[in-house]
């Protein structure tokens, strides 16, 4: 079933893009409704996931336009962590200290991803969380391959700088 196959990647993407869990859930449902309504316009020569993410990306852009919350300045402090989607850390590490360190690092990364500018965050999430290829992202966003690669590189280096900042 299409929904069950793609619900996790779509929810991961939208969750990272809009920040709030409930909103992300509602949004993900809306995306699947749009996909259902537009199935007639899907052309099988293209990859389904590429088409699906294009719809999801347009929905996120529309949301930002309506809400007028396109960016968060890097000078600002992040919002309360309560508004963000909770992350679950698996108990796979034997050491309590190691587990704590890993959890802390993941939380830092989680907050740092939220601080990336949306145009970089979107591509970064697709690449490193959804595992999309550069070619797929270039097709979804109608951007040259070089631009996509460059933006993802910028995102990674920005993320590294954010992680180095004192908490």
């Amino acid at each position: 079933m299409i929904i069950q196959k793609y619900q996790q990647p779509v929810f991961n993407y939208i969750g990272r893009m809009v920040g709030e869990r409930e909103l992300a859930l509602d949004f993900s449902q809306e995306v699947f409704l749009k996909v259902y309504a537009s199935l007639g316009s899907y052309r099988p020569q293209y990859k389904f996931s590429t088409w699906l993410f294009k719809i999801a990306s347009n929905a996120v852009i529309d949301h930002w336009r309506k809400r007028k919350v396109p960016t968060l300045s890097l000078d600002q402090q992040p919002d309360d962590a309560e508004d963000h989607c909770p992350i679950q850390v698996p108990d796979e590490n034997p050491s309590v200290v190691r587990q704590f360190e890993l959890r802390e690092l993941r939380q830092k990364i989680d907050a740092a991803i939220d601080k990336l500018p949306p145009s970089l965050r979107e591509l970064f999430v697709w690449r490193h969380i959804n595992g999309l290829s550069y070619e797929e992202m270039a097709e979804i966003k109608d951007l040259p391959l070089g631009t996509v690669k460059n933006r993802i590189f910028q995102a990674k280096e920005m993320l590294k700088r954010l992680l180095e900042e004192p908490a």
């Binding site: 929904i3 619900q7 992300a24 993941r106 990364i109 990674k156």
Partner: protein, 198 residues
Amino acid sequence: MSCLSLERLYAYLEGEISSAESRDIVGHLAACPICRDAVEERRRMLQAIETLPGFEVPPDFAKGVMDRISVAPARAKVSFVRWLAAGVAGFLAFVAVLSVIALVTGQNFFQFFIRFNRGFWSYVQEGALVLAKFAKLVFLFLKVVQQFLGEILEGLGVFASLISSEAQVIFICASFLLILAGGFLWRRKFLVEKNHEN
């Protein structure tokens, strides 16, 4: 081998380079502690990112979507029925109002309709006359614009006959650039004002 660029470093970490290139980099890393540190820092970061847990999708997510899909056509039907009911109710209300007016004025119901019909068509005629006058005004305005443009083009023709063909090309290019610059500045001003409003 010189030190790694950051782009090449990421390409190495993500396995996007050839095995020969990869061997060169491994050789370089063994000898260069600066690049080794840079690679290790980014390797740790990428590993942590790639092991970030996903957001937990509620077990009833798919059911929620299917419920909304099944409700969508039903809503459309209800909406159509409501529109139909509203139309019928409106028509009946209109007839009821006319009947009350006819009863109050003591007129025959059909005579009232006859008078209403005449009144209605006289309004239509007056409206059509106003529209015709407006169309005539538009026609006159367009005629004035046509004459004005004609005069300008004739003036330009006389001007062009007085200067050389090279000067004509320069004049046309300069005018074109001026128009482009004007458009650009206007657009910029408009966008700045819009941003201020936001």
